[in-house]
Subunit: 482 residues, 2 copies
Amino acid sequence: MSLFLYNTLSRKKEEFVPGVPGYAGIYSCGPTVYGDPHLGHARGPIIYDVLRRWLAHSGYRVRFVSNITDVGHLVDEVKGEGEDRIQKRAKLERLEPMEIAEKYTWAYFDDMKDLNVLRPDIAPRATGHILEQIELIQELIAKGHAYVSGGSVYFRVKSWPQYGKLSARNLEDQEAGARVEVREDKEDPRDFALWKTADPEHIMRWRSPWGEGFPGWHIECSAMSLKYLGESFDIHSGGIDLQFPHHEAEIAQAEAAGHKFARYWMHHNHVLLNGEKMAKSTGNFVVLRDLLKQNEPMVVRFYLLQSHYRSVLDFTGEGLEAAHNGYQRLLYAYRETRRLLASASEGRHSGLDTALDQLEAEFSQAVNDDLNTPQAIAAFFVFLPELNRAFAEKAGRASLERTARVFAELGEGVLGIFPPRVLEARLEGHLLDGLVKLLLDLREDARKERDFARSDQIRNRLGELGVTVEDTKDGPSWKVEV
Amino acid sequence: MSLFLYNTLSRKKEEFVPGVPGYAGIYSCGPTVYGDPHLGHARGPIIYDVLRRWLAHSGYRVRFVSNITDVGHLVDEVKGEGEDRIQKRAKLERLEPMEIAEKYTWAYFDDMKDLNVLRPDIAPRATGHILEQIELIQELIAKGHAYVSGGSVYFRVKSWPQYGKLSARNLEDQEAGARVEVREDKEDPRDFALWKTADPEHIMRWRSPWGEGFPGWHIECSAMSLKYLGESFDIHSGGIDLQFPHHEAEIAQAEAAGHKFARYWMHHNHVLLNGEKMAKSTGNFVVLRDLLKQNEPMVVRFYLLQSHYRSVLDFTGEGLEAAHNGYQRLLYAYRETRRLLASASEGRHSGLDTALDQLEAEFSQAVNDDLNTPQAIAAFFVFLPELNRAFAEKAGRASLERTARVFAELGEGVLGIFPPRVLEARLEGHLLDGLVKLLLDLREDARKERDFARSDQIRNRLGELGVTVEDTKDGPSWKVEV
């Protein structure tokens, strides 16, 4: 059974054939680190995380590279506050873009960790590869595909007829798009910047053969993906918005310089909020951190995986609640399997074994079909009634062990929705509840036996532990005080 | 009251006077990311973390920069495995130094997070600043302080008579040290590499005006500290081993190129194990991660802070256990303060207020005296008897609130030893222990009353919750099964 992926280049599902047998190289466009990630920023990392986990599960040695775009466009805020301060130019008093980049890089990785997204094998920074970008630009100039103008360097689009092959844009579309920012120093409105000359107030700047400046937005991904994954690497992924111009430009830069570039291009679709695209620029977004504070992060991950990555996902409170309930059902089933294992008798349960065969087959088929995660999750829900039947019939240890292994390998290993943190935390909450319930039952027994010394003893010692008990008409309720 | 720091440059304690009032810039030499950190690697980050927290507590806006040395010296392992594989040179099959650097960068930051070390404001990578390093080398060549030889570039030590001013080494010492690795292409054995030409099998390599190669070890810190902290920045810190040649070379590189460099130099001393220096090279070390798994990380942090940073610290099991006990006493006091606050009556407790005045004064005096953390911790222990007396005398809310604030601001805010995780987790562990203990006591009562139905009920329901009880001759013991 092979993995098929929808390749934006060919606009059809294609069998994934690695460039080097046994190895898979993936480049995924990462975040721009000048603000808090919003929910829309989580979709790509999660689906490509599942891709990576699935390839590893299928036996590949995966190298997953995801960049950090930290070349910012901040200007020196000190300027204009008086001659004296400018002349001093004490670095410490100035806004330091790298401090902001550092902060939001951590914000991104913290969110990703909470979402159980594996860390990239390499997370190259754009600012850390200025030299590589300059070298690639030099190659393009040498081959006539780029030109210097006014201290900036532009890619000469008309020299590269394949420009548009990924996004299937014709010349007219490109011109319409480009006309928005006509620059005097371009030969052609479609040309895009490889290197930009820095205005005096621009803080992030590097020396280059063309004067002080900073790289254009597209060049970093061409340079860094080739550096860490090599020629003709396997998979390049990113948001659907990046198809044009970003990915189109990446391909043109790499191929015009004489390199073979990525063979499979994957794009995930938008997350909508209130029916409109989630985007910083419009203010229509949910800050990811807020969502992760208010919800178990695994529910958010589960929610995102319940839609196919190429479909638009309309984020709603009801959808999140439904995901919460569905996730709890799966988590309960996994926990219950682990709990029953402790006291299970030897033997198998044939109904459960058959259901596991079916689950494994359906799960693989779904994921191999262009990462159809909603279908893969559905296979778990189809499995649940049979598992519950097996619980009731006291299924033997061997079948329960296999069940736990399937939850671990497919649920956590591939979908990444049952990290130890969740399993253990839930057990701990469960344990706390159980212990207090047992004590309250013993207290109730004591009261029925009119042994008030003992019932008071239990209540008082609970109070010392910070557990306050209140008797209501529905029986005792309790809470833990810190 | 001012902060005094021992400045290695002057070999005496000096008042800290910032270059820009209200701001403090610190550069601290960070890890080389080609292996798991050992305990010795934790001492510097923890003490400079306290420095940083103290400066922030004292009202400074701090910028803390700590580098990641990821320029490695790995060679291509594929070479020598047959012509065919070399010719293919598929990047994916090759060892990728950046993959290793990424892994161990995370290992370092994960350990630091567990140790409650604040993240740097900027954590610049050496590989991310090749261009800046090349530029600094070019300045040195232009000024006659460096020369090209065989594709490498060396610093011309004899052109810079101040070389040796930090480590107070005379010419003879320097020559003795340098003689170990005499290179044919140097003018003088004391000269050190700024840029090294790369042998064919060297993987990490960049193009430079002198051919393909990689930067020498020292140049990154000069380039990156100046970039992010500016001329004549405040504090440069690192291990005592780095005084020579690393820091000496940093100063020479920066100053010979015409820059003003750091004004205060701080060095922390060795951690010994079995009386010998902890070092990877000799095998005499404790992997930090192992230690943090086996011990509450805050106990490790507390242990390291119980010695002055300029003293040698001899790590022993007994010392760790003593630190554990001491830490538990402080933690208990803090927890008890919080617990009692919930039910405290209005009012103050004059004995406690006086003791708090004394604690605050002694703590500040100790930290201001060249970060005397053992003395600062001792101030807390001096405070404990008065706090316990205040507990017994049911101290009023206002004084208890102030006590909690002092624990939060000085204990957590400055020493960094009471993160929320510990306060909360301990309460939870404490709670679990307390609940089980109460149940076992009730079971014991039931047995004494020969009510075996109830004692069995308690044991069985605990078993259902995963708490197994075993009766030993010392009474019941229990554990939680997952």
